[in-house]
Symmetry: C2
Subunit: 318 residues, 2 copies
């Protein structure tokens, strides 16, 4: 029997969102569970099962589902395992595809959440028709999916494209991965909040951000203050965009992409972050790339992009 | 008529070496001309022609030559042009493949010199059988050839893999390309000599290197001093290896290669440079790659690797 639907699951450090997708890329239904609150992987899968099975039943039951595609931090396409993910509660190697297949009785395939987003963007979004682009996801962490000659780069071991853990500032901020100065400690939503706290502590100028408890400041608060013309908030975006632009320049030197597609919460800041990114990327690339590599925002709705990308993997299941 | 030979040309910033290669990868004859002394591209091609035609005649004449493959700095595989090469005397865009085809009456194909070396290594050297590796050439400059899924990465515009111009030290040394802090200003043979001059000026300790006129010190002099136990010379290799290792860690995060293959003059320093490279690469990668990615030296003779790689391109000519 022809199975008309697939499941796409986007596992983030904080939340996991998932949906039922049809062959035309419509997300028919979706829901979410918390990721971070489950220290036991089996409890997490139980929780996910209880929510997802409702959507599956609404879609006509398990017989209608061809497969489950998962985008997860440090998800390995080759092995189906989540391995040493710094932003997830489970340490070591988790045979996630296997656990999911056993729990649901539906074949499951896994990749990096950012790779899944890149596949979604290539199939339905801003990167349609592009053979060479780099997707950078700016969420709780910073992820990336690299497309070369129209194909996702998985590398020798399945883990290619961890650009959030390249070094942006030598001996810089401590990262959850154990390294120092990783791009994601600066250019993620949490990195922006960290920059805010650092600047507010070091400096004396007044700022709308001082009206908030320092430890509770989010990237959204910084955005709101910047929109109101707050000088410190504007400086935080300039600083974040500069670091990201400098890093993007090095990524361009690697794969010479047609475009870099930015995705995730921070892109809501629009030109506040895009302008410094483009300026500092162009001043740090070789002359041959100056003003030639596009930097653009995702054209997919934030939640749907990763669901669609992950689900696209499931269509490829035999 | 079946043409039994190809020509491989390896254009470096200082010298151009070339040879006649048979179908089994034997370099039958080879010779060289200076690159840097020709400020006019046509005089350079005249010089190259006069030397190379002797080898071609020895091999039985032009009718025996299937094609010419060239590895040149900033050589574009797609267009056949050398474009904005910072270490060559000719500025702007040079239609090199076209000029060569016209001069020799033999079809000519062009790529980056480091890409050519990577193809040579994959076909005949340390990277035989590998699908994912990165070749780093440590010569007058620092070049790179990236292989993913068994194929050279050319990128959207033909210029992928300019890893010598990623930023190793933010706001660091001025580079010939116009940027600051490029990896090649530290990790090339000239970078090592520059490090020597800097350290000798800044510091007071005695060193064998102080017996030489500071401006004439080469990486070979630093090697000789290090072998004699000179503390400053040993420190120069430690410093160079550290910077290179830190950069390699970021390259691993991009394409997750099985190995990094190092090639060129500096590899003659052996463990003096290899040990700090491996140490600092491993301390700057994510845990999942620690002690997993091989770092090895080319197994091809320095001059032959690039000749063989460039010549391999010519076999693919229609």
């Amino acid at each position: 029997m022809n199975k008309p639907y697939v499941i796409g699951i986007d596992m983030g450090g904080t939340n996991t969102v998932f949906g039922v997708v049809d062959a035309r890329g419509n997300v028919l239904s979706k829901s979410a569970v918390k990721t971070a609150t489950h220290s036991d992987i089996n409890l997490y899968i139980d929780d996910l099962y209880n929510e997802l099975i409702k959507l599956i039943d609404e879609a006509g039951g398990k017989d209608k589902i061809k497969g489950i595609g998962v985008g997860a931090p440090n998800g390995n396409y080759y092995t189906g395992r989540i391995e040493f993910a710094p932003n997830l509660p489970w340490k070591g190697q988790i045979p996630f595809a296997e656990l999911m297949s056993a729990k649901f009785g539906i074949p499951t395939v896994l990749t990096n959440d950012a790779n899944a987003a890149a596949i979604g963007e290539m199939t339905y979004g801003a990167a349609r028709g592009m053979k060479h682009f780099i997707m950078i996801t700016l969420g709780t962490g910073v992820g990336s999916g690299i497309v070369i000659d129209g194909k996702l780069v998985y590398g020798h071991d399945g883990f290619a494209g961890e650009l959030g853990h390249t070094t942006a500032i030598r001996n810089g901020r401590k990262c959850g991965c154990g390294k120092s100065g990783c791009l994601e400690t600066y250019a993620s939503a949490t990195g922006v909040a960290r920059t805010a706290r650092e600047i507010l502590e070091l400096r004396k100028e007044s700022s709308l951000l001082r009206n908030l408890p320092t430890d509770d400041i989010t990237s959204k608060d910084v955005y709101d203050a910047a929109i109101d013309g707050d000088a410190i908030a504007l400086e935080i975006f300039e600083y974040t965009g500069k670091i990201l632009g400098e890093s993007l320049a090095d990524f361009v030197a690697f794969s010479a992409p047609e475009a870099i597609v930015l995705f995730g919460g921070l892109t809501k800041s629009g030109d506040l972050i895009l302008k410094p990114i483009i300026e500092h990327m162009n001043s740090n690339v070789l002359p041959l790339w100056r003003d030639k590599v596009k930097v653009m925002f995702s054209e997919l709705k934030e939640a749907d992009a990763a669901i669609l990308g992950a689900s696209a993997l499931a269509w490829e299941l035999k």
